[in-house]
Amino acid sequence: MTRGREVMVGAVILVGIAVTVIGTLWLKGSNFGRPSVRVDVLVEEIGQLAEGNQVRFRGVPVGRVMEFEVEPGGEAVRILLTLDRAPDLPDDVGALIAPESLFGEWQVEFVSRSAVPFVYFEVPAGSEQEDVPVLGGFTMPDITRLTAAAFDISQNLSVLTDRVDRAFNEETADNIRLAIENIQDASENVRDLIDQQAQTFANVSSEVERAASEIGAAASVGRRVLEQADGLMASGQIDSILGNVGSITTNLDSLSAHMATATSGLDVTMARAESAFARVDRLSARVEAGEGVLGQLMTDTLLVTRASDVLTQLDLLLADLRENPKRYVRLSIF
């Protein structure tokens, strides 16, 4: 009787402790004493990476982030990874730290630097601790920063169209040409950025869609403004310019739609985006050559210079976004 009760108590206590400890270790992602390999990564900053996040190679989970610490001197962060086994990594391996989904879960992915070109952290000589290999890493800007930049782009575009509204003047033709060149640069920057993001995420759809719709809204303001100019000047050329702006928007829309549905369709989408941007290029070339009403209408030097400044700012903004992504908003859930 007493003995049976003691056995029962002992059993319940042991089961309770075992369930709690094993459950905690399992949820924490312990490999329960299986041999593991440590790899260190040095990066400038870690974004929203957390202890316990996954390490992947070609999409396959191969380990977890154990801990991280700021290096002496404060120039870099050392991330300690524990891998279940050492995968055969490419020779030019780099560590890309990026969100895996829109919901805040970040990961470390081993990539080939040549296939995914970023500015990876240069690992200084002598950074190895206890013969653990050290990789240079790059931390992607958060998707929210891209959204914030897109918002700024659309704001600036609407400022620009406002000014164009008041500033059709033949003497500003040269400045407009410069401005359109800036648009070209800016749109290339946007395209590059989207390009990079597209290689990394599958789930950017809603954010890009929002960015695209904001750009679209700005473009429709532009269309209205230019339509007025068109009415005044009775020219057929403006229609084709605006048609192109419209198709950029449409293409951006379909770009995001494609990215949302399948990454396999990405090539096609990007090709279509390319062609949209190419049409802008052609358009600007024609304006540059002094063809069409638009080229002849520009007269107000000062205002167009200002418009040009806005675009320069936009350009700087995009550059800054890539250089100093930490300044921009972060997404956090819970």
Binding site: R5, V9, V12, G16, V19, G23, L27, K28, S206
Partner: protein, 257 residues
């Protein structure tokens, strides 16, 4: 009706203040009685069985149904933008942080707290506690210490098991009733998991264990007035322990999170 309710509240409050003094006295007595291992030692294992082992079925039953309900309700909430694997995150986080310890604590306040209050209350009104004293047993060491000790030891054990069962029930529900696979559920489960959450839950569980057994022992030990008195003590033990559990829950959340 309203006046009598107010009066009841007032009376409860006044009684509560008096009870704090008596409770403190009993608590000091219990701490002093800790060194009388020869008295409470032999009773400890039977109390571990009565407080802990016997509570396992009800605790696991509650945990299992909590897990099921959480999984279904979470999937009902997460339509559209939030991915379904968040069901795992919600089930895990809620059960570990809150529902595992608190629901188990409340259930055991009814089972263990009432049991202790009724047993000690009956012993008090039938002079069995006086009889213990007359036989040179310190009744606090004999009755209170092993019960509170058993609560302290066994509540975390029982809560640990119910957390595991609750999460497992949520997982099985996700698998069979929701359109969710095991890797998805586990992914959600691990998404926001912190080992500290488990420590937090176990600390809470231990404090609930002391509370439930201590409050039950207090109301039983200070019982008076025959069978009706025992009934009153039992009710007060359950109500008091339940309220203290919720207060402690808020306290730990503020102090430890």
């Amino acid at each position: 009706m309203l006046a009598s309710s107010l009066q009841a509240i007032g009376r409860t409050a006044i009684r509560g203040v008096g009870a704090v003094g008596q409770g403190g006295h009993l608590a000091v007595g219990a701490v002093r009685a800790l060194r009388k291992v020869d008295i409470w030692g032999p009773l400890f294992v039977p109390q571990l069985a009565a407080v802990g082992v016997a509570s396992v079925p009800i605790a696991l039953f509650i945990a299992a149904f909590t897990g099921i309900v959480l999984a279904i309700q979470a999937s009902y909430t997460f339509t559209g933008t939030v991915p379904l694997y968040f069901v795992g995150a919600l089930v895990g986080k809620t059960i570990i942080l809150e529902l595992g310890p608190v629901l188990t604590g409340l259930a055991l306040a009814g089972r263990v707290g009432a049991n202790i209050a009724a047993e000690l209350g009956t012993m008090r009104v039938t002079e069995q506690i006086d009889a213990l004293e007359s036989l040179a047993y310190d009744p606090v060491a004999y009755l209170v210490v092993p019960r509170v000790g058993a609560g302290l030891v066994m509540f975390p054990v029982v809560v640990g098991m119910s957390m595991a069962v609750g999460i497992a029930a949520g997982w099985i529900t996700s698998l069979f009733l929701l359109d969710l696979s095991t890797p998805q559920f586990v992914r959600g489960l691990r998404l926001f998991f912190e080992p500290y959450d488990v420590q937090f839950a176990l600390i809470k569980a231990a404090s609930f264990g002391i509370t439930v057994t201590g409050v039950g022992a207090f109301f039983g030990y200070t019982c008076s007035g025959g069978a009706a008195g025992v009934g009153r003590s039992t009710t007060r033990a359950v109500v008091g322990a339940s309220m203290l559990i919720l207060v402690l829950d808020a306290f730990w959340a503020a102090a430890l999170l």
